[in-house]
Amino acid sequence: MAGHSVEEIHAAKKKFLIVFAIIAALTVITMLAHVVHLPYPWNWVVGLAIAVVKAALVAAVFMHMVGEKALINRTMLFTVIFCIGLMLLTVLSFFDHIPKLF
């Protein structure tokens, strides 16, 4: 966290509690979506989309990535890109489009 004045810390504390309330509410929404049995593919889309939003809030606010040094943000951005690439390669290998090219 870049700024550390007393006023900034007090403001940050309020922000932490608001973000906690939002994440808790999103968790309840995830449960409700499960209970109503959304049809395919919306069960996966809604469940994972809410998880991504919650994770982004944790990273941005609790882990101070908003306002963090570019060195850290760039390092993590590249890591996440490689991580998503790894998962996409797994999916692509399963559906195996290469034989269709020949």
Binding site: Y40, L71, I72, V80, C83, F94
Partner: protein
């Protein structure tokens, strides 16, 4: 010997050393869990394609929901502990840290209860493809919770001495421990819906 750049920033990186260290460690952790999530996708797709593969899996989502709330709650208490340290309110720091450690124990007790219930019903990692990846990923996550609780527990127990010596250094150490703790929470944010809510649903339209 004095360890350099524990409080002040290094001129070349603009960061104190432990901060860049924990972020590089977390980057490696992202790839570790990313690999395991890829394994989950691979196994789930494989189970859909081959009906002879036993997927299986029936978890108590109510307990998973409670554990999610516990871990999210501990994420906010650990950052409040750091904020109180920044404000030089040592007693409040100790209170929030105690709440965080208490939440970590509660999480592990609930997880242990879940594991115990499975084992007593004859369900083990070898039972099905689902349970093999479930026990692997949640087990590794639980080890992270234990590791984080040990580190935060040290700051709680030895905090007074560290605070007297250099309060800003302690705040930085708590920030680093907190970053790890938030990452543990972040991983669970994905584990919970995937294993407890979605794993029984097909992953491809053909199988639906």
């Amino acid at each position: 010997m004095e360890i350099p750049y524990t409080v002040s920033a290094r001129p070349d990186t603009g960061l104190w050393n432990a901060k860049i260290g924990i972020w590089l460690f977390l980057a490696s952790e992202v790839m570790l869990f990313g690999g395991l999530f890829s394994a989950f996708i691979f196994l789930k797709l494989g189970a859909v394609a081959d009906p002879s593969i036993k997927w299986g899996g029936d978890l108590n989502w109510q307990l998973g929901f409670v554990n999610t709330m516990v871990l999210i709650g501990s994420s906010v208490t650990v950052i409040m502990a750091w904020a109180e340290l920044k404000l030089r309110n040592f007693k409040k720091f100790q209170m929030y840290m105690a709440l965080t450690i208490g939440a970590s124990f509660l999480f592990l007790i609930i997880k242990g209860f879940e594991y115990y219930a499975k084992f007593t019903h004859g369900i083990f990692p070898k039972t099905s493809t689902f349970y093999s990846i479930y026990f692997t990923m949640t087990g590794l996550h639980a080890l992270h919770v234990i590791g984080g609780a040990i580190v935060l527990g040290y700051f709680w127990l030895a905090g007074r001495e560290l605070y007297k010596r250099n309060p800003e250094h302690l705040a930085n150490r708590v920030e680093v421990g907190g970053l790890f703790w938030h990452f543990v929470d972040l991983v669970w944010i994905f584990l919970f819906p995937i294993f407890y809510l979605l794993s029984s649903y097909p992953l491809t339209p053909a199988a639906h």
